[in-house]
C-alpha cells in the first residue's frame, strides 16, 4: 500500500493530531513534543476510536519522604491519548495501554518528505 499523506508540516502544529485512512484501516497521527507518532485508531478494549479522544498527561500521586500521600499532579513527561468510548488511556510515545503495558496499539512509521508528512501504511 502506498504511503498515506497526512498533512503539510506547517499545517500540523505540535500538540495536534490527524486521522487518516489506509484502505480500511484508520490511523491516528500525533505530533507531540517535536515527534510524530501513528497508531491504529482501534481501541484494544471494545474497538472504539482510540485516537480521537482528549489528550491528558498521566496523573501521578505525590508521596512524601515518609510515604504519606501529599496530593496529585500531572506528569511533566508522559502524555496519554484517551479512547472517547470508555476512557482507555494510551502512552502517546509508545502506544502502550497505560493500565496494562502488555497491551499495545499497532504502530506505524511516520516520515517527513520535505514539507509533507506521510504514514507508512505497511
Amino acid at each position: 500500500m502506498p504511503d498515506v499523506f497526512v498533512a503539510k508540516f506547517s499545517q500540523f502544529p505540535d500538540g495536534d493530531r490527524r486521522i487518516v485512512s489506509a484502505g480500511t484501516t484508520e490511523i491516528g497521527v500525533f505530533h507531540w513534543a517535536g515527534q510524530f507518532y501513528a497508531y491504529e485508531n482501534l481501541c484494544l478494549h471494545q474497538g472504539g476510536p482510540a485516537c480521537e479522544g482528549v489528550m491528558m498527561h498521566k496523573v501521578e500521586d505525590v508521596l512524601g519522604a515518609d510515604r504519606t500521600f501529599q496530593g496529585q499532579r500531572f506528569s511533566k513527561d508522559e502524555m496519554h491519548f484517551v479512547c472517547p468510548w470508555h476512557g482507555y488511556e494510551y502512552d502517546v510515545k509508545t502506544g502502550e495501554c497505560a493500565a496494562d503495558r502488555k497491551l499495545k496499539l499497532k504502530s506505524f512509521e511516520v516520515v517527513r518528505r520535505g514539507e509533507d508528512i506521510y504514514v507508512v501504511a505497511d
Binding site: G47, V54, W85, H86, G87
Partner: protein, 405 residues
C-alpha cells in the same frame, strides 16, 4: 465548546454526532451480521433532566412544581429541589467526552429529541428494542422528602409514556417505582401497568428500604398478576457512611453498584419472596456478573447451617437465583475462564439479558457477548435478544422477522 485538559490546555469541540462517535460499532454490527437476529438492550439511559421543564408540566403537586421551577430558575443548571444530587464524576474528568459535549448534538424537531438520540445509538450499535431508564433519577430513592420522589416519579412516568413511549415502539421502559412510599408504588403499577411501551417496573436500588417489608406485598402480587417483571437497577451513593470511607470514584463505583443489589437480593431470598411470589419475574440490573457466583456460594454455604433462619426456602438460595434474571453490563471480561463459570452458574442460556447502559461511561457493545469463544450461536442470540423477548413478551421486530426466516 472548550474542554479543560491537563496542563491548562483546552480542546475545542464544535459539534457532536452520536452516529459518528459510534461508527466503529456500526462496523462491528455489519461484520457480525446482527441483522440476522433480534437484539434487545434491557438497560439504556437518557438524561431526563434535559427535559425537566416538560416533565414538570406533568407534576400534580403545585407546590413541589413551583419549588422545582423556582430552584431551576435560580440555578439554571438542574432540577434543583428534585434531585438528592451526590458527588461523583462518571465522565472521568472529561476523558469520556460525550458527557460534556452531548448538548452540541443537533436533532430534527419532528420528534422528541430523546427519540432521535436513542434511534441514533440503537441503529449504530445494532439494537432493535431498548428498555430506557432515566439517569439522575437513579439516585432519587435517596431523596429525604418521600413526597418529592412520588411527585417526580409520577410526572416522569406520565411524561415518558406520553412523549416518548407512545411515539416509538423500539423504545420501552420499566417505569420508576417511588419505592419509599409503598402505597404510591402500588398505585403506580395500577395506573401505568397496561400502558403502551411499559414492560415492567423498576426500583432504584440505592435507598434504605428493605424489600421484604410487608407494605410491598400487594405491589408484588399485582406485578405477578399482571405478568410484569420487577427490576432492581443498581446505583451508587457516596454519601453512605460505609461507601464514604472510599476516596476514589473507581472504588465507589466498583463496589457501590453492586452493594445495594446484594442487600436487596439477600433480603429477597432469605425472606422467602420467591416462594411467596413464584411467578413474579425479578431482574437485577447493572451490577455486572461477578457478584452472582459470590452470592450463590456464600448463601448456599450459610443456608446449609442456618436454614432455620430462612424457613420459607424449599431449595438452595442459588437455585432461586437461577430462577432470576441478570443484565450483563458492566460485564467483567478480564478472565474468560471465570466468566464461563459465571455463565454456567447463573444459567446464562435462559437467564442472562444483554444490556448496553449506553450512553454511560462503561457501556458494553453486543460484541462483548457475540465474541465470547465459549458460547454457541444459539446462546449468543438468546442472551442478546431471545431471553429478553421471552421475558418481556416482545414481538419480533418487523425488519428482523424476514432475516430470521
Amino acid at each position: 465548546m472548550d474542554l479543560p485538559l491537563s496542563d491548562f490546555r483546552k480542546m475545542e469541540v464544535a459539534e457532536f454526532d452520536t452516529s459518528k462517535l459510534l461508527a466503529h460499532a456500526s462496523k462491528q454490527a455489519a461484520e457480525r451480521g446482527y441483522h440476522r437476529f433480534p437484539i434487545v438492550d434491557v438497560d439504556s439511559h437518557h438524561y431526563e433532566t434535559e427535559a425537566i421543564d416538560e416533565i414538570l408540566e406533568y407534576m400534580d403537586d403545585p407546590v413541589i412544581q413551583q419549588l422545582a421551577r423556582s430552584a431551576r430558575q435560580a440555578t439554571a443548571k438542574g432540577p434543583g429541589v428534585l434531585s438528592p444530587g451526590g458527588v461523583g464524576y462518571q465522565d472521568m474528568g472529561g476523558r469520556v467526552m460525550r458527557y460534556s459535549v452531548r448538548g452540541l448534538e443537533k436533532t430534527p424537531k419532528d420528534r422528541h429529541r430523546d427519540i432521535h438520540l436513542a434511534q441514533r445509538w440503537m441503529d449504530a450499535i445494532g439494537i432493535d428494542i431498548a428498555i430506557m431508564f432515566p439517569t439522575p433519577m437513579l439516585q432519587l430513592g435517596l431523596h429525604p422528602q418521600v413526597e418529592v420522589e412520588v411527585a417526580l416519579a409520577r410526572a416522569y412516568n406520565r411524561w415518558l409514556c406520553e412523549r416518548v413511549l407512545a411515539h416509538e415502539p423500539r423504545i420501552r421502559s420499566m417505569l420508576y417505582l417511588p419505592f419509599n412510599d409503598a402505597d404510591a408504588s402500588y398505585k403506580m403499577v395500577q395506573e401505568f401497568g397496561a400502558t403502551k411501551g411499559v414492560v415492567g417496573f423498576m426500583v432504584t436500588s440505592a435507598r434504605y428500604r428493605p424489600v421484604h417489608h410487608n407494605s410491598y406485598m400487594k405491589t408484588y402480587a399485582l406485578l405477578e398478576e399482571m405478568n410484569l417483571p420487577l427490576a432492581f437497577h443498581a446505583g451508587y451513593n457516596w454519601n453512605d457512611q460505609t461507601v464514604g470511607m472510599m476516596n476514589k470514584f473507581i472504588s465507589v463505583h466498583a463496589l457501590g453498584f453492586v452493594f445495594y443489589n446484594m442487600v436487596h437480593l439477600a433480603n429477597w431470598i432469605t425472606n422467602g419472596l420467591p416462594e411467596r411470589f413464584p411467578k413474579l419475574k425479578v431482574l437485577w440490573i447493572e451490577s455486572g456478573l461477578a457478584w452472582v457466583p459470590f452470592m450463590m456460594q456464600r448463601f448456599d454455604n450459610e443456608y446449609m447451617m442456618r436454614s432455620s433462619e430462612a424457613p420459607a426456602l424449599k431449595k438452595l438460595p442459588s437455585d432461586y437465583m437461577r430462577d432470576m434474571y441478570f443484565s450483563t453490563q458492566p460485564m467483567e471480561i478480564k478472565d474468560l475462564g471465570m466468566l464461563e463459570q459465571t455463565f454456567r452458574m447463573l444459567k446464562a442460556d435462559t437467564q442472562l439479558l444483554y444490556s448496553s447502559d449506553y450512553p454511560h461511561w462503561d457501556f458494553d457493545l453486543p460484541s462483548t457477548i457475540y465474541d465470547l469463544p465459549f458460547l454457541d450461536e444459539t446462546a449468543k442470540r438468546n442472551i442478546l435478544g431471545g431471553n429478553a423477548m421471552r421475558l418481556f413478551n416482545l414481538d419480533m421486530p418487523v425488519g428482523k422477522m424476514a432475516a430470521a426466516e
